[in-house]
Symmetry: D2
């Protein structure tokens, strides 16, 4: 059985994330996803510095966000991230919930591919270092 | 025949849009899309201030970005935006191309729905003001 | 004796705060200052929502940042904020230190003035609500 | 006589630069300054890529902004930047004016120092490459 490749972090929107409607501007959610993604990868010792040390960049090639309800200043949010693909590409699914009511506010995913840091060539299979760190089989 | 509901703007990534790989951080593209979307809506006199004056907010409810090639500092980019749905929701499709080579770097779409500014209720049909401004029939 | 009008928060730079030199882009420190300022004002029940409820906006009219050493990805930082003027204007001084070594990385200040939310007139004396919340005499 | 080491660019605040008061959030002005600074340095063929090619980083060590009047969505602004020191450090002074009325909205300065890209040592005298590019004598 595969391990549970997931994490949940808490985030509270800052004043500088608000727009004139007094809600979080839709583009700032990309930062919240990144905070959860980095926390998740850090847990498996494969966050950005470790990625680079392993000889790969992992650019985002696909990003999707579905906004169900807005988020407000200082609202306690739970951002969950879960790795759901790791063979040919790294796909992470996200959900953002209100920490108090549990209501779901946002769903999202990101897809990353490995790029060799020297040749700059995209890898059609994820490099084994990812599987080792995550403790998974491709 | 429907009018051509489209625009193309030029954008050149700023230094503050770059990440440690010396390319534009993926989240900053959301700003480029917004610049094109606002220019397009301005052309039809239905940009943010006009939206609010008409009694509606138009939050983004769906955002998708596909990154084909990275963008660099000061690279001349063309961001095209085209309105492709306006009956129940406002869907805009985007493409970002290198202005020199014409190479496509990014594809994206956003979907917005109208929300009544007073009742805060989501509208399942776009308000007629949108169709009037765009010169379209639902 | 005046109370200690200060707070210290912890911040760790996110990947999206880094620039091509792999350090925090200088403009992002404004966000760290704001996080500390809001936490400090929240402690005295006079954060942004309370400011607006009291009938005043408090725009920043002066901002200064002195950068002594750079900050890196995920580096544990302590951001301290202290209210040092409250009679005619609200001045807050800041220091950012490395949490591990205690080394000072950045010094800063912000100055805010009260603006009446209805008349939009700038107040040359801070409104008494500020003093009451802070528990100070002008 | 020294040449006029100055430039003026036009900027119009984007929707994503606005805060809940419907004005530009104070931290976003740092981006407007950077756009003017980069345009100015580009004029003298010493923008970021050229700085790095010359073997130096030029981090900002001091930033000051004085906000006189707020800026609104799509307001046409003129951002002027002028190099006023280049011997020991690079100091640039900025002014932001409303393009229509000519009213001054913001004053600012930035100070940069040269850091050797290899040794990471701060230079107490600006490297001669700066003077050559600017056509000035120290």
């Amino acid at each position: 059985m595969q391990p549970e490749l997931a994490i949940t972090i808490e985030v509270a929107p800052a004043f500088h994330d608000l727009d004139p409607m007094n809600i979080v501007w839709h583009g700032h959610y990309v930062k919240y996803l990144e905070l959860a993604r980095c926390a998740l990868l850090q847990k498996y010792d494969y966050d950005y510095p470790a990625m680079h040390a392993s000889g790969y960049f992992w650019p985002i090639v696909d990003l999707r966000l579905k906004y169900v309800r807005p988020a407000a200043y200082a609202q306690k949010l739970r951002v969950s991230a879960r790795i759901v693909e790791w063979e040919n590409r790294l796909r992470i699914d996200y959900e953002i919930h209100d920490a108090g009511s549990g209501e779901r506010l946002t769903r999202a995913h990101t897809i990353q591919v490995a790029v060799d840091a020297v040749s700059r060539e995209m890898q059609y299979l994820c490099p084994p270092v990812l599987w080792q760190r995550l403790g998974v089989q491709p």
